[in-house]
């Protein structure tokens, strides 16, 4: 009989430990099946949350061998094929752990509320009359409305892991974008202003949130949408915005980055002076050449064509 092992990172409120459970393999099951089998037949003290078991409630997100997944919809066989017969299960990262695989959502809901994630309807609408919206405008918010608050994106977010003080959970940005894009809403500018200093330009573009979302959302892309929207509103004076625009300018001019100019444009003279120790380290390792003035790359005219096409598509 084929035996498989769940190594579970446990926490009893004071003590952390790893416990191994050996299960008889059954084909066609899910990760959640294994957790339930352990709780029902081996160890009733194991704590985890699960509700709908059909990937709509978001309760059962856990990390399996370092990847956040919904336990209920994740095929055990596929996972075993990928990782072998020993699986390590852990609670989501970037959450406080309450017990075993159970994490605290209350602190996350406070962070949601801080950026006003609710509709602020246009003046022409009322509770008595409802709203109007075209089918194509509905489709602009449909994907983001599919977020089930499972926390998979937050768990795998590199930026949150590095520092959560100046960044929000990726799903929060998707929610904010949902309202900015909702034609029934009147508070787009207020919403953008509200997130300028809440990490709008801090995303590291690792795209973990996009690959981990079980419902096909792309929080990283929603962050990019919010950034573009903020630039169109004229919020181009932050270091993040200047950095992005400097990138664009370099690419447009030569097709190559000029690291020295990039720094000056993004964080200014004083900011760049403060980065001198870093610059010196880069110099010493041959990563930076202050005298390097990039010339136009071959095919630079094609870059111009691409940039023009992007601009036109944005205006359309």
């Amino acid at each position: 009989m084929r035996q498989i092992t769940y190594k579970i990172e446990r926490f009893d409120g004071t003590r952390k430990f790893i416990q191994e459970y050996s299960l008889v393999h059954q084909p066609g099951k899910t990760i959640l099946w294994g957790l339930i089998a352990i709780k029902d037949t081996m160890d009733p003290t194991l704590a985890f949350t699960a509700a709908c078991r059909s990937a709509v409630c978001g309760a059962c997100a856990v990390r399996v061998n370092g990847q956040a997944v919904l336990a209920c919809e994740t095929s055990l066989d596929t996972t075993l094929d990928r990782f072998g017969d020993v699986l390590t299960l852990a609670p989501l990262q970037n959450f406080s752990v309450i017990r075993d695989l159970v994490v605290d959502w209350e602190e996350k809901s406070e962070r949601l509320a801080a950026v006003k994630t609710w509709l602020m309807p246009q003046d022409g609408f009322s509770a008595q009359t409802g709203c109007r919206q075209t089918g194509s405008d509905f489709k602009k918010i449909n994907t983001q409305a599919g977020c089930i608050l499972c926390g998979a994106c937050a768990s795998e977010c590199s930026k949150l892991t590095a520092n959560s003080a100046d960044f929000l959970e990726p799903f929060t940005y998707s929610k904010v974008w949902k309202f900015v894009a909702d034609t029934r809403d009147q508070a787009a500018t207020e919403r953008i202003k509200g997130i300028l200093d809440k990490g709008l330009w801090k995303c590291l573009h690792c795209a973990e949130c996009i690959t981990k979302c079980p419902k096909g959302l792309a929080p990283g892309e929603d962050i990019a949408r919010l950034r573009r929207f903020s630039l169109r509103m004229g919020h181009d004076d932050s270091s993040g915005a200047r950095h992005a625009l400097a990138f664009l300018q370099d690419i447009a001019e030569t097709g190559r980055l000029n690291e020295t100019k990039l720094s000056m444009r993004s964080i200014g003279v004083w900011g760049s002076i403060k980065k001198l120790p870093l610059a010196l380290r880069l110099l010493r390792r041959g990563k930076l050449n202050p005298f390097h003035l990039p010339r136009k790359v071959a095919g630079h005219d094609q870059i111009q064509v691409i940039l023009k096409a992007v601009k036109e598509s944005e205006q359309a």
Partner: protein
């Protein structure tokens, strides 16, 4: 010790709508207590839509038609005054949801789109693709954040404390902090959802639909109304029982037997697949019983065929259905029919609400709404799209009712809730010390098995009598069940133990009601009494409990304009 003017218990659509209504009264202390994080609730599993006469798709639809469809759908067991009140509120309630921010699918003029649904004489089911419950749940949660509703997240209801026929408060278990907390409240709204998990092995419901509030009310001296009426949804996935929305039939899906025949033509020649859920479920089970299903025994099934709808329509209107079928049944509905079988879906019965305008119960201070409650607007069979409607309409009334009540009452003497909390402390110590006894999961599975086999889609006296004996036996075993987990922090073993107690308490009421209803009506289909009997049974069952003894009584159905007639689709 905590205290509230209004405490809402349960954070599905009904609970959150009630809390939103109560916080509008600025001077009241309102709390929303839930055993999960709010967006995990069963409301999020609702897929197809929410009914209301907006006339966007059909200008000839009318309140009158929605009323009659609901009365007829209920097999004349719904109270017609309550149904009328409910139907009249719905158009406003849906427009309000739109204003709250629910992203509805739209028609060509930008109005809320509507679709056909079972038992409806016009397309009046408003929807957001096939995730309508999900978006309503999340939008209500957004509104709760907006209005600063105090949410007691992961607090489990242990007991409703009633003294001299009036509410004192409740005992809660603060799971994250690991403490048992007495809470005084002037009024509570019980919105804890259904009890579909008494059919644990075959249900569309989340693990958490364990009838907690129903059992707590029964223990507090409030009756359960019509508990024998359990809705079996016709289209649960064959293997897991996971819901395939009624929208799949509303959008034109076919049901096929092993002859490739659209067998509904023999059961409901006019409405075909769009007959009511009770009739379609009974038809499917008949096909299987008579050998026209696929597979054998518990794994038998028929097919739901969507292929003729075409790729585009499936992707636009039924995207979640497709994903669920692929994930859990390894079948892509664009290319293959989906294996389905009825699955326990909804408890029409519930906490006896005696005033549909306020959702009051017989105990002063206790209000109930949503699937936990029985108003009754669903009678013997609920129409698809009427449950999301129920929760937003009656959630609001209950919130208002409880708030008005709280103003009239003073906070109760805290010694009663304190004493109750103390005895829960003792019970926790007692059960977590036990070393021997039957396992929680064993009792749970044996309950599910006997309920599915003996109190399922088709019922007989003999089988139900056997179920009754078994349930009594399981209740007996439950008295000595061990809870081998003494750590109070997030103790899901203890929660599962109490949930099992709730399921047993409710299941006994279901069996008792079913045994005594010697007729077939709506979802209650008896092989030994195949006909509806309006002379003897046009009445609500009321099951009450005193200590361990259950009592059964009846109350007449309110009939206003629609005299009971034969029900054909």
């Amino acid at each position: 010790m905590e205290n509230y003017d209004v405490l809402v218990i349960g954070s599905g659509g009904a609970g959150m709508r009630a809390a939103l209504e109560a916080v509008r009264q600025k001077d009241l202390r309102v709390g929303l207590m839930t055993k999960m994080f709010p967006t995990r609730s069963a409301t999020g599993c609702a897929q197809g839509g929410i009914n209301g006469v907006l006339k966007n798709m059909d200008p000839d639809d009318s309140l009158e038609k929605h009323i009659f469809d609901t009365v007829k759908g209920s097999d004349y067991l719904g109270d017609q005054d309550a149904i009328e009140y409910f139907v009249r509120q719905m158009p406003d309630a849906i427009r309000e949801l739109d204003y709250f921010g629910v992203p509805f699918s739209r028609d060509a003029e930008g109005r809320i789109a509507q679709r056909n649904f079972g038992g409806a004489s016009s397309p009046r089911t408003c929807f957001s693709a096939d995730v309508t419950g999900h978006v309503i749940l999340h939008t209500l949660y957004e509104q709760c954040l907006k209005h600063g509703v105090k949410i007691l997240t992961e607090w489990y209801l242990l007991q409703i404390v009633v003294k001299n026929g009036e509410l004192s408060g409740v005992v809660g278990y603060d799971m994250k902090n690991g403490s048992i907390v007495p809470i005084t409240a002037k009024a509570i709204v019980v919105a804890t959802g259904g009890a579909g998990r008494i059919y644990w092995l075959r249900t569309t419901n989340p693990f958490t639909s364990t009838g907690d509030g129903m059992a707590a009310c029964l223990d507090a001296g409030i009756a359960l109304k019509d508990p024998e009426f359990i809705q079996f949804h016709p289209t649960g996935l064959a293997d897991t029982g996971i819901l395939m929305s009624e929208a799949s039939r509303g959008e034109g899906g076919y049901l096929l037997n092993n002859q490739g025949e659209r067998f509904m033509s023999r059961y409901a020649p006019e409405k075909m697949e769009l007959a009511t859920r009770d009739l379609v479920s009974q038809a499917i089970e008949t096909e299987i019983k008579e050998g026209r299903g696929f597979g054998q025994g518990l794994s038998a099934y028929v097919q739901l065929d969507l292929r003729h709808l075409g790729r585009e329509k499936i992707l636009e209107r039924l995207p979640q259905i497709r994903e669920l079928a692929i994930t859990f049944e390894q079948v892509d509905p664009i290319e293959q029919p989906i294996p389905i079988r009825p699955s326990c879906h909804y408890t029409m019965g519930g906490i006896d609400v005696v005033d549909y305008r306020t959702c009051a119960t017989t105990v002063t201070g206790v209000y109930a709404a949503g699937e936990a409650a029985c108003v009754s607007i669903h009678g013997a069979n609920r129409l698809g799209g009427n449950s999301l409607a129920d929760i937003v309409a009656f959630g609001k009334f209950a919130g208002k009712g409880a708030a008005d009540c709280a103003r009239q009452r003073v906070i109760a003497e805290p010694s009663w809730v304190n004493a109750a909390a103390q005895s829960w402390e003792e019970r926790f110590s007692l059960v977590t010390c036990r070393k021997t006894g039957a396992k929680i999961s064993d009792i749970r599975d044996r309950l599910a098995e006997i309920m599915w086999n003996n109190v399922g889609v088709f019922r007989t006296e003999t089988e139900m009598a056997e179920a009754s004996t078994t349930v009594d036996q399981l209740i007996q075993e439950y008295q000595t069940v061990p809870v081998p987990n003494a750590n109070k922090v997030y103790n899901t073993t203890f929660v599962n133990y109490i949930e099992l107690g709730s399921m047993l308490t409710v299941a006994k009421a279901v069996v008792l009601g079913a045994l005594h209803r010697q007729e077939s009506r709506g979802s209650h289909c008896r092989a030994d009494f195949p006909d509806r009997d309006d002379v003897n049974f046009l009445k609500h069952t009321l099951i009450s409990k005193r200590a361990a003894d259950y009592n059964i009584a009846y109350r007449p159905v309110v009939v206003t304009r629609h005299q009971p007639a034969e029900r054909k689709y």
